[in-house]
Amino acid sequence: MVVPLPYILGLSVALFALGAIGVLIRRNILIILMCLEMMLNAVNLAFIGFADHFKAVDGQMFVFFVLTVAAAEVAVGLALVVAIFRQRASVYVDDLNILKW
């Protein structure tokens, strides 16, 4: 059974929106990072869907790139989170507001 493209895209959009909202409203950096992952994976889902629909491998290839970038990003991001926590004993973004006017 083939899942029709609109369903896949609908799920992808829903996931992306969920991730974006999470990034915008959550205070915990760890959760923000997770939401970022969710956004990336929503995009991956859209790639897969299109690749299947158009019978082309380009989409699947891109997914690998995105996965790689996501892995690297999480590595750097978590390292930063650890460093910040050591400095300020907090992982809440609204405590990290000194870089301003």
Partner: protein, 635 residues
Amino acid sequence: MIEYVWLIPVFPLVGFIINGLMGHRLPKNVVGTLGASMVGLSFALTLAIFYEYLHLPAAAKPVEVPLYTWIASGAFKAQVAFLVDPLSLVMLLVVSGISFLIHIYSMGYMHDDPGFPRFFAYLNFFVFFMLILVSANNFLMMFVGWEGVGLCSYLLIGFWYEKKSASDAGKKAFVVNRIGDFGFLLGIFLIFWTFNAVNFREVFALASKYPVGSGIITAITLCLFVGATGKSAQIPLYTWLPDAMEGPTPVSALIHAATMVTAGVYMVARCSALFTLAPVAMMVVAIIGALTAIFAASMGMCQFDIKRVLAYSTVSQLGYMFLACGVGAFTAGIFHLMTHAFFKALLFLGAGSISHSVSGELDMRKMGDLKKHIPTTYWTFMVATLALCGIFPFAGFFSKDEILFHSLVDGHMLYWGIATAAAFITAFYMFRAVFMVFYGESRVDPHVAHHVHESPKIMTVPLMILAIGSATVGFLGIPILHGAHRFKEFLAPSIMYSAGHHEAHYSISFEVGLMIFSMTVAVAGIITAYRMYIRKPELPNLLANKFKVAYDLIFHKYYVDEIYDMAVVEPIKDSSNFLWQGVDVQVVDGAVNGSAGVVAWLSANIRKLETGFLQNYALAIVLGVAVIVGYLVGL
């Protein structure tokens, strides 16, 4: 020798450079000797050139000595070149000769002044510019000298710059002179615009093709005359000269009596070819001259500062010279310029010697009975006074009489009347000064009185030389006798009458009668002064009280300074204040500061966007993406 004429101004320039740069490190006698000897060299060279010029064949005269081309731009060409002709030779001799004596005098007079080297540097610099002025062969170079002497005049009036009145007087002289210089400059522009040349001889040759009374020539000459009124202290720009007496006395003698202030007369005589083409301008010159002569003389009557009396006298005598030029008797004007240089320099130096003897006092009310204390000064001062009053056989008699004669026969009865009245006043105020200073009871401050002393030799010797000059130079221009007026004959080639001029001949009895009359007038002035200041010393005060209004008017110099202040200075100050406080501060600064203020206000508010909250930025990114995507998909 004539080709070395350029050396004449160079000598004082060398003196200026050495004294100006290193004077403060040299001993005083070196500074003074250097300054004086440089001018002395100029004088010697001038004499040599004068002698050579006399023996040149007529065809070779006048001589132009080009040094180099100063400006060559298209049709415009100006050279640094010297014109050696009778007029410039007379001026060179007067300037360098009188300057030399005054330099020597200054070595004594300024001896204890801390600014000694500076004084000699400025004085040399002045002589340099003055020699440039009178020896230039074109208007532009003359203008350089013209401005230069103005600068030196300013520097020397304000020589004692710690004194507020002196620095104010310097500024006043400079500003008033600028007004005149502006007219002169306009005249030069007009000359170049009309004739496409600035060289005197070219301009005069071209001008002779214009009809008498042509508009452009009249405009040129009037502009030039505005320059002359500024430099030569004529109505309406004379007010700076009395104030210029704040400077050291040798400066008053050299710059503000003998040389610089006569530059205007020299310029008018030099441009005789232009002025004779413009009867209107000639009339203006004559009227201004006559009015200045009587106006300034009357102001001299009520002054108590001896130098101010002499200053008004100078203004008045310059008026005579312009009157002479205005009626076409240019040689008489220059003749009077020369004799005046002798006796007025002598009077000022004498005044300096008087004030030297009474510890710097200049107020004649605090003098009196000085005759026996300072005999040399007294005798020389007396010679100069007699010369100024026009008593035979002193120099002033010949020159002033010639002016009176010409103002009657070539001018108008009215000119002659005014000039004769001024001669009466001149005799009166000069003898008033003599009587107040040398005769009567001593009113000298008791602290000063016990060491009243004659000046040193270095000051009295120049006085004596000038006294000999004041007594004798008049004989260069003996009237009536045919061929005896050597001065006039010598000068004649320099004076160009563009509009046919004829020497009228008058009967000897007429000329002699006029002379006797003008002498009588002068003697009457002397007798009046004698009656008022020797016989009845209480009379002046009685008269002053009786004619209080008139006395006040004259004593306050007709309130001319106050009127100028009110009519010119204050409005200019007000408008400048408006331009400063209104236009500059409000509009110009307002625009600059306002735009900066707007930027600062915007920045202060826009920076609030930088909250430092990560999620605000993230929201901005999301919104941005939404906008871009929306645009791309064509919403």
